[in-house]
């Protein structure tokens, strides 16, 4: 509770800093609206009383005030709402949303982006930062509405204490209404899975990539029928719950209307007696019928504040998470400018959160400077995890990595990254221009033509670039109607990106040629080996190639064979084949090699 109160204060302060005048305007609208609301009731009463008494001046004044109150109440409500949303949206989009994005990007490691507890919270908050900001405003507004409620009650009490009986009647209605609302919310949650499913089936039928298979299978009618059944099932379930809610709410209204009618009858009866007036009847009708909506607005805004908890709680969690992780990122040692000795892995181990067994288990090996290392193994053997540890994308649970004797954990992560480059298996397909998609490999030199050209040449992507409709300025990807590339072409862009940095000490190629045909693969490998050898000469760089295809690794200086997270064999290709009794490498190599063996 204290946390939420502090957050409300903090968010209001952020609104105040960003939009001082508009924040004041919204607050003023709330105040004026409350005055207009009370003024409307009193002015209507005065009109009737003055008309009965024949007081022309008072009557004209009251008539004008009534007109002004009607219009001002409406306009102020409208302006107050739109300006509040304006302030909320501005602060959300320029302040809170970037804060959430930085909570993702500023953490050095990537383990949080693979954890469902983190991702669920990101999903809850993303695009809804406005709700975080509005949660603060809903507290302020609920307070203003309580004031309005107090005014309403005072006005009713001034006519007749009997009218105060309406307050519990409104309470009954609200309780029944809330019960109905809970049902409809429950129905909404219960049908959300089917809602997603019908959307999925619709997308399958309307996207060309998937509809081709559906056509060949003749499955279109079946899928349309299922989509319709699912979609209508959702609609009917939700409508049923809403119908029950409506019945409950109506029952509540009947109670309120009965109370209202009875109280009104009392007011009408006393209107003819001393101390009563016809104006009281008008006031009772106007304010009495509004009572419930004022109560509902107050409760509604208060429950908004509560409902926003679904977004505010994850937001607070993310903030705390990022703050804790950033506080731990204190290593500042500079990486060496060139490798002279080795990168050494000492009893390295890493277990994914929630996993039963380690993904990397007690791996120790020395990789001398200037080496081309191949990491091989089957899916799930831990080879990609090993690479992520080397690039500091994960922090080892135990053991350590040293770079020329310095513990990698002590080297500042941005510094280590600046001397690292990588082409990952699941590379990004950036929906931007070709040149930018390459230049992203080194944002500092992104604008440099020469740097981009050199990287394009290094990855043999020049021909691809020149074939594009606007060469390097062509937008890539179909998402924004750019040119869609094939898998292999995207991979070339990723390889070019990895070549932007000219002097990396660690160069990672994760399944770099998986979708290329034989001659392209051959070509790319030749270039990469050449590049690796040059980097090795220049700065002792280590190149790590991850592959499950043995054709790509045979020429490495050192081959690491992974199985179930453990380093089971290492050595050169001839060493591993010559192992007495075979071994994992020899066996797997054999399976692929027989396909090429002379028949």
């Amino acid at each position: 509770m204290r946390v939420r109160a502090r957050l409300t204060g903090e968010l209001m302060a952020r609104c105040w800093r960003a939009e001082r005048a508009l924040t004041l305007l919204v607050l003023a609208c709330m105040a004026v609206g409350t005055v207009a609301f009370a003024g409307l009731g009193l002015a209507s009463k005065t009109v009737v009383d003055a008309a009965v008494e024949g007081d022309l001046r008072l009557l004209v004044l009251a008539a004008v005030v009534t007109a002004v109150a009607y219009v001002v109440d409406w306009v102020v409500d409208d302006v107050g709402f739109t300006m509040r949303m304006h302030v909320v949206e501005r602060v959300a989009q320029t302040d809170v949303e970037p804060e959430v994005m930085r909570a993702c990007t500023d953490v050095d490691e990537i383990d949080h982006l693979e954890r469902t507890d983190f991702l669920d919270r990101i999903t809850a908050v993303r695009g809804r930062a406005w709700a975080v900001v509005d949660s603060a405003w809903s507290v302020v507004e609920a307070a203003a509405l309580v004031l309005r409620l107090a005014l309403t009650v005072a006005l009713l009490g001034s006519v007749s204490p009997w009218l105060l009986l309406l307050v519990p009647c409104a309470g009954v209605q609200l309780v029944l209404d809330a019960a109905g609302r809970r049902r409809s919310t429950a129905a909404e949650i219960a049908t959300s899975e089917d809602q997603r499913l019908q959307r999925h089936l619709f997308e399958l039928c309307t996207s060309p990539a998937t509809s081709k298979e559906i056509r060949v299978a003749g499955a279109e009618d079946e899928l349309v029928a299922r989509q319709q059944a699912t979609a209508l099932g959702v609609v009917h379930a939700r409508a049923r719950a809403l119908l029950t809610a409506a019945a409950l709410s109506t029952a509540g209204w009947a109670v309120f209307a009965a109370g209202f009618t009875a109280a009104l009858a009392l007011v009408v009866r006393s209107a003819g007696q001393p101390g009563g007036s016809l104006g009281d009847v008008v006031l009772a009708v106007a304010v009495g019928s509004q009572l419930r909506s004022v109560v509902q607005q107050a409760v509604g805004r208060a429950s908004d504040a509560g409902g926003y908890g679904r977004i505010v709680e994850p937001y607070l969690w993310l903030r705390a998470f990022a703050a804790e992780r950033l506080a731990g990122q204190v290593a500042t040692a500079a990486p060496p400018t060139a490798l002279t000795e080795a990168i050494t892995l000492e009893h390295l181990a890493f277990t994914y959160p929630g996993a039963a067994r380690p993904a990397v288990d007690d791996v120790s090996v020395t990789i001398p400077a200037g080496t081309v290392v191949a990491v091989v193994g089957e899916y799930g053997s831990g080879k990609t995890t090993l690479v992520k540890l080397l690039t500091k994308l994960y922090r080892p649970d135990t053991g350590r990595i040293t770079v020329d004797g310095t513990d990698l954990a002590e080297i500042g992560t941005p510094g280590w990254r600046a001397v690292t480059s990588a082409a990952f298996q699941d590379f990004g397909r950036y929906q931007t221009t070709f040149d930018e998609a390459v230049g992203l490999g080194d944002p500092a030199r992104m604008a440099s033509r020469e740097a981009v050209d050199a990287a394009v040449a290094a990855a043999d992507a020049g021909a691809l670039r020149s074939r594009l409709p606007a060469a390097g300025a062509s937008l890539l990807g179909s998402r924004f109607d750019g040119t869609e590339l094939s898998e292999g072409q995207w991979q070339k862009v990723a390889l070019a990106r990895a070549c932007m940095r000219t002097r990396p000490l660690l160069f990672v190629l994760d399944e770099p040629t998986a979708s290329l045909d034989a001659p392209s693969e051959h070509e790319i490998f030749a270039r990469y080996m050449e590049r690796s050898r040059r980097l090795a000469r220049d700065c002792g760089a280590v190149t790590v190639i991850v592959s499950h295809r043995f054709s790509t690794v045979a020429g490495a200086d050192l081959i690491l064979v992974m199985e179930h997270g453990r380093l089971v064999e290492h050595g050169t290709h001839p060493d591993l084949l010559a192992r007495p009794g075979g071994g994992v490498y020899a066996e797997l190599f054999g399976i692929q090699a027989t396909a090429y063996a002379d028949s």
């Binding site: 994005m101 060309p208 209204w253």
Partner: protein
């Protein structure tokens, strides 16, 4: 002038078209909704009348007031009941109309004769616009537009009824209130529509901002964001796109707020004047005090009847959706290619089964020929296939190899009847497949595409959706199990929490995510299901790209066995996997460049032999020594 008339006509036509959607929800339901809406519109006038009556009764000594009090209570209750029951009614009407709309869009897209028309950028843009699944507040569905249009009409009921109450006091007050009320509506509506359009104009920037924002937490991109130090750059990029959209929107917010002064004046002056006139009139004996109170309420009722603009926005937001759906219908319902009736009958009788005789022999694999097939993607510079001739003999295992971009995947789509050759033809047992009809032909073919579908449905559905329709019962559980076993899925099934019924998506209750390799086996099982359901041509496009070494080797060892009696076309760029084929063809420049068994092609010493040698070389020697000997430099 003429232009204005034409625009008005077009707008009226669109509005009528929106209203015409309403009966789609079912007439009784619609009737109830309309009744509720009309009652709601009448409420302000009714409230004014019953208040007046109550005051007059209370002012008359000796008159009974009970009836008048009850009426006030009844009107209050009626009003609340209408507004409360509106939600379920609207949910139903909207849900039914939109579901129907979405079904129409799906049918349009899956029933075109060929795939290329659906792939065109133009059609894809229309589909995005016609989806009716709003993601932004400016996007509305056809049903929302139709309901909005209904509200616009019903508003006039409210205006007329409150004006009638005013007229009862004095007719000349009616124009004094109605004209400014309509002006105010025009002003407010104009502001919202302008705001709406500014927002819509910025949608492309909005989508880009959304995209870059998403990248900050995408697990795949996360590695590059960190390795290359891109985090701040990506956040900045998102903010740039965001401002490109929202700066204009925000400026308009402020402008609209300033313009509210005019709205205030336009409403308060006539309303105040009318109220003063009525007040003065009452003291001069024109009407009762009750009538005055009634006039006050009805006078404001005239304004409040027309000032709401949410419905106008619904109409505005739904118009692009309806327009896109119309354009799609016009684009996609061109008459299908004429079929030759005689030929259809011939094939149909051949494949028809007598119900209940599941053991009847399947029709044999057809002899398929591609004769001079040429195909070019619409809008591309040159054809992908250029006069290609290819024969697929019944029951053989044919491998198609070639470089990236040689047209291998295009060939599979032509073969499956997804693309129609621009020249040449595809025949089955001598009959043009166009004459057989696309649907009938596709029942005889099955394809494992590189980008196969991952249905978020049960494992059983995932396999049985390999072939639906025809005259046999669907799904066939035995065929599902057989196909799964053949695809090597046995161990996977054993590990699933609910067996065959387990949904293959973690987002579903009790669902699981499969690995890439497991999914590939599911896709293969799906195609094998189709072969059990009558397909006789099996096309495998890179079917083992996600499998690990052992599983791949195991699968190829068994491939010939599980495709008995089926012609298999295996597309691959990995030559080690195609050696076992009965015949290998090399695709280059849109034609078959080489054809023969592995040994024949090796003996030929052409491109295939060269490519194979290249791949094999890596196993024979490391690339180090090759570099040293200068082979590659």
């Amino acid at each position: 002038m003429q232009k204005t008339v034409r625009r008005l006509c077009a707008a009226t036509r669109e509005r009528t078209a929106l209203l015409a959607l309403l009966p789609g929800a079912g007439r009784p339901l619609l009737a109830v909704l309309v009744a509720v809406r009309v009652l709601q519109a009448l409420l302000p006038a009714a409230t004014a009348l019953v208040t007046a009556r109550l005051l007059d009764a209370a002012a008359t000594p000796g008159a009974g007031t009970a009836g008048a009090v009850l009426l006030v209570g009844a009107v209050l209750l009626l009003g609340q009941t209408c507004s409360v029951f509106q939600r379920p009614l609207v949910t139903l009407v909207r849900g039914r109309i939109d579901a129907r709309h979405r079904a129409d869009v799906m049918r349009l897209l899956t029933r075109t004769a060929t795939l290329d028309v659906v792939e065109s950028a133009e059609v894809q843009a229309l589909v995005r616009a016609a989806t009716a699944d709003p993601r932004e507040w400016v996007e509305k569905t056809p049903a929302e537009g139709a309901l909005g249009q209904l509200s616009v009409l019903v508003r006039w009921v409210g205006l007329v009824s409150t004006a009638a109450v005013v007229a009862a006091w004095s007719w000349w007050l009616v124009p004094l209130l109605v004209v400014p009320a309509v002006v105010v509506r025009h002003l407010v509506r104009g502001q919202w529509v302008r705001h709406f359009r500014i927002w819509v104009d910025g949608l492309p920037e909005n989508r880009r901002a959304h995209y870059w924002g998403e990248l900050t937490s995408a697990p795949a991109e996360a590695k590059e964001l960190r390795t290359f130090g891109l985090g701040a750059w990506v956040v900045d990029r998102r903010q740039r796109h965001l401002h490109a959209q929202l700066d204009d929107v925000w400026a308009d917010d402020l402008r609209a707020a300033r313009e509210k002064w005019w709205v205030l004046l336009a409403a308060v002056v006539p309303l105040g004047a009318a109220f003063v006139v009525a007040a003065v009139g009452t003291t001069r004996g024109h009407g009762t005090v009750g009538a005055l109170a009634g006039l006050l309420a009805a006078g404001w009722g005239v304004f409040s009847a027309v000032t709401g603009t949410g419905d106008a926005l619904m109409v505005e937001g739904a118009r692009p959706v309806v327009r896109a759906a119309e354009a799609l219908r016009a684009r996609l319902t061109e008459p299908e290619t004429e079929t030759v009736p005689g030929a259809v009958r011939e094939i149909e009788t051949e494949t028809r089964h007598v119900p209940g005789t599941a053991t009847a022999p399947e029709p044999a694999a057809p002899h398929v020929r591609l004769e001079g097939v040429t195909f070019a993607y619409p809008g591309s510079s040159g054809p992908v296939l250029r006069g290609l001739d290819l024969e697929i003999r019944p029951g053989e295992l044919l491998a198609v190899v070639g470089l990236n971009g040689a047209g291998k995947s295009t060939l599979t789509k032509v073969l499956a009847g997804l693309y129609e050759p621009s020249a040449g033809r595809v025949t089955a047992d001598g009959v043009d497949v166009r004459a057989i009809g696309a649907r009938a032909w596709r029942r005889r073919v099955t394809v494992v595409h590189q980008d196969f579908v991952r249905y978020q449905l049960s494992l059983e559905d995932n396999i049985a959706l390999g072939q639906v329709g025809g005259d046999r019962p669907w799904p066939d559980p035995d065929a599902v199990r057989g196909a799964a076993t053949d695809a090597g899925l046995g161990p996977v099934v054993d590990g699933l929490p609910a067996g065959w019924r387990t949904p293959l998506a973690r987002s579903r209750t009790g669902g699981v995510d499969l690995s890439g390799g497991q999914w590939q086996q599911v896709a293969l099982a799906r195609a094998l299901y189709a072969t059990r359901a009558g397909a006789r041509v099996l096309v495998l496009d890179e079917p083992t790209a996600h499998l690990d070494v052992r599983t791949e080797a195991e699968l190829f060892r068994r491939l010939a066995g599980i495709t008995q009696g089926v012609s298999t076309v295996l597309v691959s760029h990995r030559l080690s996997t195609v050696r076992l084929a009965d015949r290998i063809v090399l695709l280059a420049d849109g034609r078959i460049a080489e054809s023969g068994t592995h040994d024949e092609l090796m003996a030929l010493g052409g491109s295939y032999a060269h490519m194979f040698a290249l791949q094999a070389q890596r196993f024979a020697r490391g690339y180090d020594d090759r570099l040293e000997t200068g082979v590659l430099s």
